[in-house]
Symmetry: C2
Subunit: 395 residues, 2 copies
């Protein structure tokens, strides 16, 4: 796979337009790419959807989060391919193709922030912005061996982006390097990464979902976390006592209802051609009722209270980011859908609760990367980033 | 099917941009649409391909043929969906959808000038521009009950358009009404439509391809042509004595070779996702050799000489535009490919020779339109249009 092919598949081929950045600042010398869900003045925003691209026009304003990076001296190098309307975890787009996995071209990159993860993993830029509604930063971070944060919901301004499900959507980013990751964090979070001793808690319900092989693959990472971040060995988190199937369904219903509120009129009136999976998910979403949404929202409140209670003042969950390493491209759509279902059981907690989760590239399985995650209380983002940096020398 | 759905599926959803036209002129009061293969200042040009759309940028110049229409007082109302890279006869686009057939929403519109034909057939504008490489004006004209001309190759400036196969590509247009069609012709051909008695010739090789039912469906149109345009009944054209399979293959080879010269680098380096059929045809095209191209070009010269000799000074071929009425949307890809193969036997003559062919909406079959065509010598375009107008009162 040549570098130019990797580039062509990660980036949208928009005509270049100068995007000025500050001559100096905390991100001076760093280059970054932006998922094509966020507006950059001088470029369209496709959200990975051709019809959306056609109607976008050239944006005249840059999303404030992107502008903050430019103001901090980072250099914009391009917009990256996203899974269609960000409604996928695969890293495939029926119209704009599949960005190349950073570790193995025979595997999917994960998505929906697929191009951003691919660009960073292949060294085409230092960091890249993505968004995470149901796992769209965490999944590709795990699959490409990158640091990736899903921040506290509402922490980073999402203005100037195409929404999928607003009560879930957050802006996240990727870097290969914890130091770079922390520099970006300080700009976007407006808070310096920090660290303090934490109590590592293992949510057994989630760990029990893994195969013995994946658990074994994550064990060295667990040991590393224990040694570097905590005084005591990880202990069991208080049980959630909420069936994961119920949580996953609540996630699907709440996300689906909101996704249809946001995109339904576009889909109904303009009849864009949607790729496989995406079309079915929107069709399913169109049938979610307001009552189902209300019930799902109530469950979110309950779940958040339980997780926060379990974390206490100094607890941080350690959890697998994904149930396995990146799926092979050759997998069938049905296999991918099953993998998506298994993944959502792990991914849905942060989405439902709005709590921050960082995926760390500390493990490998079948010769390719596998992430492990830390999840903390609201606005513990800077702590999670600080802990990641503390681990960095050994990465 | 609501009017807004028909509109959404015929037109590209670009943000509106004012396109000035002359306050008066021969086309004053007429509205027109432009296949999204021709540049219009203030709009991108997608050629029906999302990657091409992404890299297009906003065009700053209007194609001269479009400008001529604006200068003549016609009002531009939008850009229309084209089959992907114009490399299809179906009227389907895997990324931008399928424009609605003007006569029956259960049938395909035909393509690649699908949106233009659909827009005119549904009365969304008075006329529309398309392009014809292998039948992309004639097929949708036949399938939507419209007048449609494939002009003499080279007669109308193709500057500011995305090429498919330059030695075949021509700009054509559609109208419901022969009078409107003739007004547009006078502007684009820079020659007034004319008429004179013609000798109608039937190329038996082509008529013999039809089923008895389709032949019967075309008989009233034949009678009308005889009564209105010619003193004598149509007679047999001198036989071509060239196997139609050879001609069709020469068409495929020459078109394929040129299509790969034009689009190969884009496809190879940028790896755009191409829809079903289009991907296979480009893949096939990439294997055509320069020798095969040269042989095909030689056959074109030979064919042109024979057709011209057969036409003499006052001869005009009468031929079926298409082997049948528009295919049902529910047909399989394999059935559509077979229909394409049968269609090319009829369509390839004008493409290979560069001679003008007009499709006339004079027949119906299975309750929907079916075209019949006139094909004349080089630069008989204004004559063909004049003959069409002569038929018009009875249409």
């Amino acid at each position: 796979m040549t570098r130019s092919t990797v580039h062509a598949r990660a980036f949208m081929p928009y005509p270049e337009h100068p995007v000025p950045h500050a001559a100096s600042g905390p991100l001076q010398g760093l280059s970054f790419a932006v998922k094509d869900l966020f507006d950059v003045a001088g470029y369209p925003t496709s959200a990975g959807q051709p019809h959306m691209l056609a109607q976008s026009g050239i944006k005249t304003r840059t999303a404030p989060a992107v502008q903050a990076l430019l103001n901090a001296g980072a250099e914009f190098v391009g917009k990256t391919v996203t899974d269609e309307l960000a409604f996928s975890l695969n890293g495939q787009n029926a119209h704009f193709g599949s960005p190349v996995n950073g570790a193995d071209p025979l595997r999917l990159s994960g998505g929906s922030s697929s191009g951003s993860a691919s660009a960073v993993a292949h060294g085409l830029c230092d960091f890249a912005l993505g968004s995470d509604t149901g796992g769209s930063v965490r999944a590709p971070a795990s699959h490409n061996g990158l640091f990736g944060l899903r921040p506290t919901h509402g922490r980073i301004d999402m203005a100037g982006s195409h929404a999928l499900a607003p009560s879930f959507d957050v802006l996240g980013w990727f870097a290969r390097d914890a130091e770079v990751f922390a520099r970006v964090a300080e700009v976007l979070l407006q808070e310096a990464p920090r660290h303090q001793p934490v109590r590592l808690l293992m949510p057994r319900e989630l760990w029990d979902l893994l195969s013995a092989e994946v658990r074994a693959a994550l064990q060295p990472a667990m040991d590393q976390l224990h040694i570097k971040l905590a005084s005591a060995a990880p202990s069991a988190a208080p049980p959630l006592n909420m069936p994961l199937d119920d949580l996953t369904m609540a996630f699907r219903l709440a996300q689906g209802w909101e996704a249809w509120q946001v995109n339904g009129e576009f889909i109904r009136t303009q009849q864009p051609v949607l790729g496989p999976g995406v079309a079915q998910r929107f069709e399913w979403s169109s049938h979610v009722t307001a009552d189902q949404y209300a019930s799902a929202q109530a469950l979110r409140t309950q779940l958040k209270a339980r997780v926060l209670q379990g974390l206490g003042t100094d607890g941080v969950w350690v959890l697998p980011t994904m149930p396995d390493c990146a799926p092979l491209i050759s997998q069938t759509d049905a296999d991918l859908e099953a993998y998506r279902g298994a993944s959502l059981k792990l991914l849905c907690i942060a989405g439902l609760t709005g709590l921050p989760q960082i995926s760390l590239p500390l493990a490998r399985h079948q010769g390719v990367p596998l992430g492990i995650s830390l999840l903390g209380p609201e606005n513990s983002d800077a702590l999670l980033v600080g802990l990641a940096r503390q681990l960095a020398p050994a990465v």
